[in-house]
Symmetry: C2
Subunit: 434 residues, 2 copies
């Protein structure tokens, strides 16, 4: 039932009915995907997966971050892994997953292979992301809390849907692609903190693209692999949320996507946004900072006294001190081992208390700063609050420029905004110059 | 803990301590794998996956059934799928999975790529199969009954172990390959009856080989991905059978592997063996045949009146009638749509009763034939009973000859028995002539 409805949606929606603002958001997510991918191209995990694929060689179907062209299935694996390597890509909190890294990585590879138009690529991206979030919500919190990484699991369904759309499939074949990827989709949260996390995004992209390619060639799977008895949902602690498809095709859950404006764990972003928006005293006047967050984040990003840059990215105390001392939390290089021993930072982070409140939304944080003279400043931020499209665009362009340089960021945006041919975008993301 | 023990076993076992008879069994499983793979090369699922991989092209690292050379990762996918396409390959009942299709497909591809010796390939095959069965037993019946296809899941761990061995990894890296494949392994039983079933074997081979390749290049995953909290076992209904590693390195659970001597569902084989071993009256004298089996098989292979050759492969009544009427149940072509409407067969199958008994072993069947004159013949067979190695060899060689012809079967056996270079075996399995 869910497969049939999603397949009909993906195959048959009238693209002209998609709101302009939603398509603009797709373009912004693609820009963000491209920028974080280029910035991540030299990460060890990106090099390892890319080198394996380059060693295989093969048909020059699609470009990859860091340079090279290869078969689309391999390119999806490489680009999915690379664009998630920095963990700086977009997130959707309805299911808690990173949709673009799985979907855009598959879509660009497939679009290059097929010579699809830039506009079709963008529509496929939207439909794929929408599918992955809807499937993720259907799988639900039980799925996520049991240990599955929605980026890898729901992401594979989104990638399959997007590639099926690019292949021009009717609903039966789109459904078959979704049914087939049900036996292939995987990804565990127990890989978090290792190279396995970005790899989960890569396998999602590659698995989804492979499923679509095989169905295109006549593969006949159990097309209800997602919701069948002992299908993916049943076997992967799926909740079967009956409201997952509410408003499908009318309401775009994609619109609620969150982009990262800080180069750290998304669980810390509401805190940083609250700090940015409040009247902050000079660091020297701060007696105490009290952060109140949902308890689910304690196991994710509450390292108390990290001593590595990576650890800092998962530390409320660290990023709070950084923000109050004026360190740029949007910049990758700010999160250094060195900063973790900076005496000023260390002294300030000791004054940060992290508390929890079950009643607070998972996307929100309250921040209270108590000055030495007793003055209190209170602020709160919820990532779920809409950002004006124009503001989001400004911030994402600035982020892209800071990651890959003004020139390259402008070039990427121009290609995306004008819906240039996928191969042109592919050539630019595979650059080795920034 | 299980990962560490398995990794130590795979990396450090002294190959000279492996019993000769066990290595001979490995050779027989390789022969069987090659013969069923060659026989399956034109199945639609085999063509589809092979054509996708051939379209990708790439480095000529390994041969595939049906012709072609390609990168090892793709060859493993193609050969795993192809050798399971007919469902005529070996089975291990301790975990209920098909170990050779996942492991040998990965091993041959990796061995060709590396230029490994034939002997090292055979040892890696044994260690991989032993690992997959041990992991499968550790995952247990809860895993299988929940809907996971051990051929795909446990098989991926076996393929990873075998490839890691071929790469000469120490135990740390073997463990890392097992840990990495934990986030990639997949395969659902809800694909049974579709092309998705053999595909599960292909993805197991490819996933395992990929994990080993990536670790070789420096990939650092959560090396305890199998048994970590929210690792593969936790998230995939694993039972965590504490006895799974009993006698590891001393007792070879591989030795209990079952080879198929009938081209139908393995659940029917004990029945056919019992029939073959008993004093059977002419079909015309048969009043009634009573088959008594474990109830778990009722949902698997008890189609009452199938009308297709595929259905016949899952029907106690059909294969019993075929055996009593002298149709060769070892031959693929015997299972035809036509035979399902043969009046003699249809009349006889109506006289076959299938009953269940919880107390009977899952690998056993009792058969009772009642003649029209009241005479009764009773026999039983348990697939778990050892077959003499020499008898097994004779039957497997005959099976290979019937599948691919005398000449090719002899050539395959010669290459395997003399531990010829993997590329020589690869060339022969990729033949298009039988």
């Amino acid at each position: 039932m869910i497969t049939e409805r999603l397949a009909t949606f993906v195959a048959e929606i009238d693209a002209d009915r998609i709101p302009e603002a939603t398509l603009r958001m797709v373009q912004l997510s693609m820009l963000d995907w491209a920028a974080v991918g280029i910035a991540g191209r030299d990460e060890p995990v990106a090099r390892i997966v890319r080198d394996m694929a380059l060693d295989e060689g093969g048909a020059a179907q699609a470009h990859v971050f860091g340079g090279g062209v290869m078969p689309a299935r391999a390119a999806a694996l490489v680009n999915g892994t690379t664009s998630h390597a920095l963990d700086y890509d977009d997130t959707h909190f309805a299911h808690i997953g990173h949709p673009s890294v799985a979907v855009v990585s598959a879509v660009l590879a497939m679009a290059e292979k097929l010579g699809a138009s830039g506009r079709d690529m963008q529509i496929a991206t939207l439909l794929g992301i929408e599918t992955s979030i809807r499937v993720g919500v259907w799988l639900g919190r039980t799925h996520y809390q049991s240990g599955f990484h929605q980026t890898g699991t729901a992401g594979a369904f989104g990638a399959a849907a997007a590639c099926a759309r690019l292949l021009g499939m009717g609903r039966t074949d789109v459904g078959a692609a979704l049914g087939l990827v049900a036996t292939r989709a995987s990804g565990l949260k127990s890989q978090f903190g290792t190279m396995g996390k970005p790899y989960n995004a890569g396998i999602a992209a590659s698995n989804g693209l492979e499923a679509a390619l095989l169905v295109e060639r006549g593969f006949e799977p159990n097309a209800n692999g997602l919701e069948a008895a002992q299908g993916f949902g049943d076997t992967h602690a799926g909740e079967g949320n009956a409201r997952a498809l509410d408003g499908l095709g009318e309401v775009w859950v994609f619109d609620d996507i969150s982009h990262k404006f800080h180069a750290c764990c998304h669980g810390l972003h509401a805190t940083l946004e609250a700090l940015a928006g409040m009247n902050r005293p000079p660091a020297k006047d701060v007696e105490l900072v009290r952060i109140t967050t949902h308890p689910r984040w304690l196991g994710v990003c509450n390292q108390l006294s990290p001593d590595t840059g990576l650890g800092a990215k998962f530390s409320y105390r660290m990023v709070t001190a950084m923000a109050l001392l004026g360190h740029d939390t949007a910049k990758l290089s700010s999160y250094s081992d060195q900063l973790c021993c900076d005496t000023e930072v260390v002294a300030l982070r000791e004054r940060v208390l992290v508390e929890t409140d079950e009643a607070i939304s998972e996307t929100a944080t309250r921040v209270e700063i108590v000055q030495k003279d007793g003055t209190r400043h209170i602020a709160a931020h919820d990532l779920d609050m809409p950002i004006k499209l124009k503001d989001r665009e400004t911030r994402l362009k600035a982020k892209a420029a800071s990651l890959v340089g003004e020139g390259l960021a402008a070039q990427l945006w121009w290609l995306i905004e004008t819906a240039a041919a996928p191969v042109e975008l592919g050539q630019v993301i595979s650059t080795n110059q920034t």
